[in-house]
Symmetry: C2
Subunit: 330 residues, 2 copies
């Protein structure tokens, strides 16, 4: 059995209060007792039981992360940022993924209740309000990449709309007029925003958006591949395909190459996210660079600052994105 504070007290010949005081350095203690306690603790290999601690303080030192799913490079990179920031701030991380229905989400949040001090939630299929309604109360939130409807939410997101707007404008400036667009996951906030940016850019450039040029996707490579094959069956073939993320775009590249088309001459292609694969695609993929890792660190930092200061004013932060034009759309 692991040593308890009582064992240390016994060995050092002092009361448990004194042990606690020495270990937490919370009150002055006579030097001789201090050293006796310290050596006793060391000899016994004593570590305070975090469970007992948090029963008393009702703080846990943990942060929960709730994600809709994890796939591809985007999430690895995001988790990287989250974990780094959490370690720096001395929080441990609980993680739970694959929440699509609000039932799932509710269950996940309930299972984290009192095991964490706060929650990082990515719920692209819901609004911040809807999520908060499901949560056990008193649990502070920070939202990532989630639609905000109230004005008192904490969150970090990035400029989905502006990024796709800029990329569309780029293609138009290269002379493209007939542009196919492959959407992301249906009903997802970021996917909607990206589509909205695209459509607005078309309009602002005097191009009428056409339904027949919008193709359903779901952010993965296979979906991009299949959607692109549908694009190629159009009578009047577009000169460019915009995918809603890099994974889809890689599927698009694959389909185009199989069809014997050259990129970007026969067809320009663009992605979104700028994961590492975009740079090493053939040809290198034009994409919208998203600071994914920073998205993770910023979210943790915001949550921690909220935990440390209950008065902290709500903040919605939108990280800027950046066009990275490469060979696939030159």
């Amino acid at each position: 059995m692991a040593a308890t504070i009582r064992d240390v007290a016994l060995k050092a010949g002092v009361s448990i209060s004194t042990v606690s005081r020495v270990l937490n350095d919370t009150c002055p203690v006579a030097d001789d007792k201090r050293v006796r306690v310290e050596s006793a603790a060391k000899e016994l290999g004593y570590t305070p039981n975090p469970v007992a601690r948090s029963l008393l303080s009702s703080e846990t030192g943990g942060i929960g992360i709730i994600l809709p799913f994890v796939s591809g490079e985007f999430f690895s990179e995001f988790l990287n940022g989250v974990d780094q920031a959490a370690q720096e701030q001395d929080f441990f991380l609980l993680i739970s993924t694959s929440h699509h229905s609000s039932e799932d989400l509710k269950k996940a949040m309930a299972s984290m209740y009192r095991r964490v001090d706060g929650l990082l939630v990515m719920a692209p299929h819901m609004t911040t309000q809807a999520v908060e309604a499901l949560a056990p109360d008193g649990l502070p939130f920070v939202f990532v990449n989630t639609e905000v409807v109230s004005d008192d939410a904490f969150g970090v997101t990035f400029d989905n709309y502006g990024g796709m707007y800029a990329m569309t404008a780029h293609l138009v400036s290269k002379g493209h007029r007939r542009i196919a667009f492959i959407t992301g996951t249906e009903n997802a906030y970021d996917a909607r925003e990206r589509l909205r940016g695209h459509l607005q850019a078309l309009k602002d450039n005097g191009i009428a958006p056409l339904d027949e040029l919008i193709f359903k996707g779901n952010y993965d490579q296979r979906a991009g591949f299949e959607a692109c094959n549908r694009v190629l069956r159009l009578e009047d073939r577009p000169t460019a395909v915009m995918a809603s993320n890099d994974d889809s775009a890689i599927g698009v590249l694959s389909a185009l190459r199989q069809a014997g088309l050259t990129i970007p001459d026969d067809m320009a292609v663009t992605g979104f996210d700028d994961v590492q694969s975009a740079q090493f695609a053939t040809p290198p993929l034009s994409s919208v660079h998203v600071p994914v890792r920073q998205l993770g660190t910023a979210a943790i930092d915001l949550l921690v600052s909220r935990l440390n200061d209950v008065q902290r004013a709500p903040q919605m932060r939108t990280l800027p994105v950046e066009l990275r034009i490469r060979g696939s759309s030159k």
Copy 2:
């Protein structure tokens, strides 16, 4: 403040013991009290405090996952499997990544002590014994993809050696004699095993391994790209490049294409892992399929069975891999 068991007892007009008995269905309770307790609990929205529970039982319902780093599709997929299995078994997940030094690892394990019931450790740079030596005792382990030295370890791995052996044999059977090999992360268990499989297959086919054909990599795309450029500077150019994983192989494809070579005619290329990107590379990448998701579920299942049965005999499980030959090496 959230309701406690005392509030429920008060409201139902019974003792807290009775409430506990009703909620855990642990002893017979008179029907009238039972319904009173149930409705009181419901009205107050009572949920037992898991902290208080685990202080008493010293069980947490949690599993810790310790990873060296997370990057690329491999880890997303692995986490997917882990999370799914954990949810099915009603465990929550603590995660901690980026542990390279044993100091890091020790700290991570210490911070999980008593917050989890068991640990899933992926430590390709260490042996199972070395990890166990750093751990607070009494914490059950399951190792993933880690070198085993003792015969009482629990773990799941996959056939790194055999996969690369088979892939090398495949290339030899296609007539390749001069094959460049790009290694994975230095000193990592899986990287060493893959190299070993490659070298053994060469020997078994009467080909002498050459040092000049082994190039240092680290599993990422850029490393593959750069290593491939070094390959291309060889006077006597190889006819094939084997990368230690798919990410590196994608970097290789990119470098070869930039150099104007056609694949597989000028140069065959192979990967390892068979992540989704392998299928959608151009040309589609020959790879060794690893059941990554299953790796995650198998590890959790093994750990849970160990937690449920202290007598459980140690088990090292090696999942089979499978050659997937595609256009890059035909």
